[in-house]
Symmetry: C2
Subunit: 336 residues, 2 copies
């Protein structure tokens, strides 16, 4: 490949000169959210284009010590809850002139992005958007002075700020709803065992069953994976003590469970067996699934995360629970 | 908020000194893909952590003129084809020690990310992963010296490198398959009218129908949106001249069409009406849909895009067509 000869670098001063505006106007044109008239901005952009000027934001970040980049670590993208949450975050970061650097995407999906990779890009803040990333990474980043916010997970010691849904309360309400519907043999289809979402949802479900005089649930683990959920459902439905209701720790698994019940066991979902999820992803409302579930509002969760990453110097971690609600559709038998 | 007192900056020399290794070893520890023994790397990381050292990758990028960041512009994330493609790209970028900066996410979904925003972050290359982003942005980036690769779209003049699926050929095979199955009144459910994918798929479909002696298809437009596809399907199925087959320009729309046919019109999909998609997203194989479609292999498309972004100094744009295949499931009547 032939190299191209480096040209003399075009500076902001050259652009200002060409456009007949101040150097500050050039700077403001390329600063997100800075005050500048549309007319001046258009002039600057035309001159920048004519001269081939590339605003050197990276050099600028050395002065401001802000890269304008928010790191986002994504653990597992198959679950449609995460792309939806990501889109809500992107909208908000975009409005503030910030951008998103995605970490992870390792073939081995539940591994952490490495700390040194995150430090290397000098992100201003880090959002860990997954229920399965280790607490380790969050602690390392905090030690390195990078504000960290967890979405949809908490660390055991609560030392990192977090935004979560109403896991315990939601799961308890699901248990009450199923008991009121006359179910006798409820089962819990667990997500990743080491995740806070799974732990809280299981605890809430058990508490709700117990308060309503029910027995401890049957149990199988789908590890928050679609194929895992299918396999766990086969186990549950093939057992002599077949459950009459399955609460799945998220919608992604509930959809897998529902399809196995309907297409492999020929069960009439909502009548012969009740299946309930958690999240209320868009797909839960599709007529093929019509899933009874408990909502985690992604817009409000993203909004709360944006507030928390701006509280950089806060002394204490902040934990925000975003309330959801029971969404009753047709995949579970309703109370009379 | 109380400010914290700035500490004296820790340099790579301090880390080398503390770890008892060369400064070059420290540098190699923080360079993706650089040769370094696991033992030395562990020593460096331990010292870096003990001293609170943050490798300043941004300063380094001023010297190498490589930010290590690949920009990705995403138009519309609801279609599960894009998160799947993104995951394949992330894996590959990650292996090379590169990262992903996502652009767009504007509330107004089909608007382009602004050129100045992309330049601001000095991305090494830009991947436009959408069928609906304007050709304008690609041309502007090329003018600014940033290699651009389009995935799943082409510009009209072909001036930007691209990786696309087998749109024309695939759609023609779908037409042949439907004609061989004895369908009389095929319809085309169009995606975004200005996109190259839609244009090529429609042309291939019409060519295939015509070659098999069929009539021109009925037509409605779903604009690559789920709700748009549902509405377009209602129009088609309510018309006096109801089609007996609908080829939808992607799977995302085909799933919407299938649900409307089954749940709103009570049609037995695959018997009373045939519905075919394009992409072969994971969901197409779910038993709820069991969708006949034409595949676009995301792994091969991502691989090809990675090759093309490395051909930075190439004189001519390169266009790669990734072949797919007809995936026959149960949503369409098969030839006898």
């Amino acid at each position: 490949m032939a190299g191209t000869r480096p040209k003399k670098a075009i500076t902001a001063y050259d652009v200002a000169d060409h456009a007949g505006v101040s150097q500050s106007a050039v700077s403001r044109t390329f600063t997100p959210g800075a005050s500048i008239s549309a007319k001046t901005k258009a002039k600057v952009l035309a001159s920048a284009k004519a001269l081939g000027y590339r605003p050197n934001f990276i050099a600028k970040s050395l002065i401001t010590r802000k890269s304008g980049i928010t790191g986002v670590a994504l653990g597992y993208a198959d679950n449609p809850f995460y792309p939806a949450l990501m889109e809500e975050l992107m909208k908000r970061l975009s409005r503030q002139g910030r951008r998103f650097l995605l970490f992870n995407g390792d073939p081995q999906r539940d591994s952490d992005p490495e700390l040194e990779e995150i430090l290397r890009y000098q992100v201003d803040a880090l959002i860990l958007m997954s229920s399965t990333l280790s607490s380790h990474l969050a602690a390392d980043c905090k030690d390195a002075g990078i504000p960290v916010v967890l979405i949809n997970r908490r660390t055991e010691d609560g030392s990192t700020s977090s935004v979560t849904g109403d896991n315990f309360v939601g799961a308890r309400k699901i248990a009450e709803f199923l008991m009121a519907g006359g179910h006798q043999r409820p089962a819990f289809l667990a997500g990743a065992e080491n995740s806070s979402t799974n732990r809280e949802r299981e605890e809430g479900f058990r508490a709700g069953l117990s308060a309503a005089g029910g027995t401890a649930p049957l149990r199988a683990c789908g590890n928050y994976q679609l194929e895992g959920a299918r396999q766990a459902t086969r186990e549950l439905l093939a057992s002599p003590d077949r459950p009459d209701a399955i609460f799945c720790a998220n919608d992604h698994m509930a959809i897998g469970a529902l399809e196995v019940a309907r297409y492999e066991f020929g069960l009439d979902v909502g009548r012969e067996i009740s299946i309930v999820g958690f999240d209320d992803v868009d797909m839960a409302a599709w007529p093929s699934f019509d899933l009874t579930t408990y909502s985690q509002p992604v817009n409000e969760m993203a909004e709360a995360a944006m507030e928390l990453i701006d509280l950089e110097e806060k002394a204490e971690p902040v934990h925000r629970r975003i309330p959801g609600e029971l969404i009753i559709r047709k995949s579970a038998r309703n109370p009379k």
